[in-house]
């Protein structure tokens, strides 16, 4: 048993505690300061590569990519870290990394915004793009839109892929009415007939990414656009736009349900999966999910090109690109990895089950794997129509280049709201178009001065 005195001397006093903590902290700081040169030298010998990209809608693509990157790292003595975050978190993360001047070496952008906005913070990948073009063919026009600045002649990103926007439709239901959803007019007429039979079509009209892409597709097919070829003059207030707005209003009233006003990006997938929907404008991820959950329903779902308008058939694809930050610690390693990834693009394409579309002419030679013959689809050539997707896709900013202004118009859902205002009779089509012209002009004007 310890004496009273022993107990009192061993008790923790405030002063004693402070002294001990101070001494410990001092020793720790001194030790790390002394060892720092050795540790940092040791660390410098281990090459690292940090990649950030979105959590892909096809989870097996992420699995493939992680393994692919790790294997490349093993071969080249590089420790590779791949982080995945939800796509909606990418812009905030990019802003944070640029503000801090630290983060990942390679950053994958998805959707509007990205390479053009961050041009002054990223490495020019012009030489990598030229190299890839020599090896795998010319970059598609949509690839130039995604990553090339026509004014500064800078490739601020490597065009990675685009996500196509075809129409997914219930063939059994459309056959019943003797139609195929080939044009936007078909969508209106056929959609109205199918709504009467309890199977409306669905295009979201709320604040989400999908309607941004769908209504741009519709505008372009009718010869309308938010800006001209220079990307500087706002042209939304036109008779072509008015025609489209009136058509959207008619489609909303005759062929859709009001619930489209509340849809997010997954709602139309759920709608088709519920068995109620007869047509949606969406990437094939919706079809892939239904294949897993309800194979018998998936067999009834077919894929066809984005509907055509009187002028052309053109869909707005979702852009994806890789940038290498200027502050990246291992720029050369990052570029080396991207080169290797591009050289293995067929494997990447297969891992995405045909979801990621190539942006260089010969990256995936035709007949394309999976799309030309998908053993999981019945019939196996169900997705074949997507082999020509590059012929009927552009992206934000069309017919001009994409840029911060076209991205902000998308971020603020102005085109979608223009359609929604007219569809719900909150404004006449003319008022809705005039409203959009004013709001878009404000955005283009401010960015032209930037």
């Amino acid at each position: 048993m310890r004496s009273e005195r022993e107990i009192s001397t061993s008790a923790v006093t405030r002063r004693g505690f402070l002294k001990r903590v101070g001494a410990t902290a001092g020793t720790a700081a001194l030790a790390s300061a002394v060892s720092l040169p050795f540790v940092s030298t040791a660390l410098a010998q281990v090459k690292t590569l940090k990649i950030l990209q979105w959590s892909h809608f096809v989870p097996q693509y992420d699995k493939w990519f992680d393994g692919f990157a790790a294997e490349w790292g093993k071969k080249n003595g590089v420790t590779v870290t791949v982080d995945h975050i939800p796509h909606l978190e990418l812009p905030a993360r990019a802003a944070a990394e640029v503000s801090a001047g630290a983060g990942h070496d390679i950053f994958a952008f998805n959707g509007s915004g990205g390479p053009h906005l961050y041009e002054k913070h990223v490495a020019d990948l012009g030489s990598l793009v030229s190299e890839v073009e020599k090896k795998h063919g010319k970059v598609h026009q949509i690839g130039r839109q995604i990553a090339y600045n026509e004014d500064t002649k800078v490739w601020s990103a490597l065009p990675a892929y685009y996500i196509s926007f075809p129409g997914l439709y219930r063939k059994d239901l459309w056959d019943e009415i003797g139609m195929k959803p080939d044009t936007w007019e078909d969508i209106h007429v056929g959609g109205a007939k199918l709504k009467a039979k309890g199977a409306p079509i669905g295009i979201a009209l709320g604040h989400s990414v999908d309607p941004n892409l769908s209504y741009r597709s519709m505008l372009w097919s009718y010869g309308a656009s938010e800006c001209d070829q220079t990307g500087k003059r706002v042209t939304i207030n036109s008779k072509e736009t008015l025609e489209v707005v009136k058509l959207v209003r008619a489609i909303y009233k005759d062929a859709m349900e009001p619930e489209v006003l509340s849809w997010d990006d997954a709602s139309n997938n759920r709608y088709l999966a519920s068995g109620r929907g007869s047509w949606i404008h969406n990437p094939i991820s919706a079809y892939r999910s239904i294949q897993k959950a309800t194979p018998e329903l998936a067999d009834k779902i077919y894929v066809w090109k984005t509907p055509a308008g009187p002028i052309r058939r053109l869909a707005c694809g979702a852009p994806n690109s890789y940038v290498v930050w200027r502050f990246a610690r291992n720029k050369d390693t990052a570029i080396e990895f991207l080169r290797y990834w591009t050289d293995n693009w067929v494997a990447a394409f297969e891992a995405s089950t045909g979801y990621n579309h190539p942006l260089f002419e010969n990256l995936v030679p035709k007949p394309m794997p999976i799309l030309s013959n998908d053993p999981t689809s019945h019939p196996a050539d169900k997705l074949q129509v997507l082999e020509t997707a590059d012929e009927w896709h552009a992206t934000y900013g069309y017919p001009g280049p994409a840029g911060p202004a076209s991205d902000e118009v998308a971020d603020n859902f102005i085109v979608v709201d223009m359609m929604a205002k007219a569809a719900t009779d909150k404004a006449t089509p003319e008022e809705a178009v005039a409203w959009a012209q004013k709001e878009i002009e404000l955005i283009y004007k401010k960015w032209s001065a930037a």
Binding site: R14, R15, L18, P91, A92, A95, V98, G113, H116, L117, Y118, E119, K120, H121, L205, G206, H207, S208, P258, E259, V260, L261, S262, W263, D264, S267, R270, Y271, S274, P404, D407, E408, D411, N412, F413, V416, D417, A420, K421, T424, K426, W435, K438, E439, L442, K446, W447, A449, A450
Partner: protein, 311 residues
């Protein structure tokens, strides 16, 4: 050594037990410095930075510090989207405050009563406040879902609505605003309960007893005795609640992203869209700063009213 010898041994004069750290004039500032540093570094400096951003041409595309005066504010006001957003923010804030505090008062009054499981009920009622906002809001997203809404399902099952005309909670402009206000009021409600509970316990029982003997009924006791006594506490709750709601981004962003047709757009979400998603930091800061005069006026009014009551 024996105790007697120890006692007889000459003692060294005892060292003073008081050191520098025991002096109030040293210890006081020492303890307050972290709080001051926190406010200066994480509130003061960002605020000053936002002030400068709002009068500059700064964007992620062109990180230029060029001074542009009030141009950004003029351009922001020119936008119909912004004007609608400002109105929405006021509606959102005031409605959520009124509903949240009203429910808080009712909840607190119920929880003052004796009933079995009262302690558990008190613990459970704090849940909406304790659950991370993102998780809670995602649960509400599903409750308001266009296809699988449990609210609509219940209303249909109870025969209250026609299944063919189910309300689109996040798709109709008025319903969408009701939805975001409901979720925010639901989050504020536990805060209101706690504040009112604290207030109720501070009301002297003898005052209430005297009033009851004098013939004051439930409403008179409530509005002429209890409420005036606990008013200072309610004012504090109102200040906190107003600031939390006015600056909130998460509920609206997760539920509607400001849609449909900007009917639920609030200053926080618009500033995020413009400043972060679109990289236009200067205009984003200008939008954010519109929060400041409103909050300043609200806080001054509330504090003045509080001081008057104390006098």
């Amino acid at each position: 050594m024996s105790a007697i010898a120890e006692a007889a041994a000459p003692r060294r004069p005892p060292r003073s037990r008081f050191t520098t750290f025991d002096r109030l004039e040293v210890l006081g500032p020492l303890f307050i410095i972290p709080a001051i540093l926190y406010v200066v570094v994480l509130v003061g400096l960002p605020f000053l930075l936002a002030l400068y951003y709002s009068v500059s041409a700064y964007s992620i595309f062109n990180p230029s510090w060029t001074f542009v005066g009030l141009k950004n504010f003029r351009e922001v006001i020119d936008s119909e989207i912004f004007r609608r957003t400002l109105a929405n923010t006021l509606i959102f804030t005031i409605s959520a405050q009124i509903i949240g505090l009203l429910l808080g008062k009712i909840g607190a009054m119920l929880l003052m009563q004796e009933f079995p499981g009262r302690r558990l009920a008190r613990a459970l009622i704090v849940l909406p406040w304790a659950v991370p906002v993102s998780l809670a809001t995602l649960a509400w997203v599903w409750m308001f879902d266009s296809l699988y809404s449990v609210i609509n399902w219940t209303l249909v099952a109870a025969g209250l609505i026609d299944p063919a005309h189910r309300p689109q909670w996040l798709g109709q402009e008025d319903l969408a605003m009701i939805a975001v206000v409901t979720v925010h009021a639901w989050r504020l409600f536990p805060f209101g309960v706690v504040i009112f509970l604290a207030g109720f316990t501070s009301v002297p029982q003898d005052v209430l007893d005297a009033a009851t003997i004098d013939g004051a009924g439930f409403w008179r006791r409530n509005y002429q005795i209890i409420l005036p006594i606990i008013a200072p506490i309610i004012m504090i709750a109102l200040i906190f609640g107003t600031v939390f709601t006015f600056t909130d981004l998460s509920v609206v962003y997760l539920l509607t992203k400001g849609g449909p047709i900007n009917s639920t757009q609030v200053l926080g979400t618009l500033a995020f869209q413009v400043g972060i998603l679109s990289g236009d930091v200067a205009h984003g800061a200008a939008i954010c700063l519109f929060l400041f005069p409103f909050l300043l006026v609200a806080v001054i009014l509330l504090l003045r009213s509080l001081r008057r009551r104390e006098i």
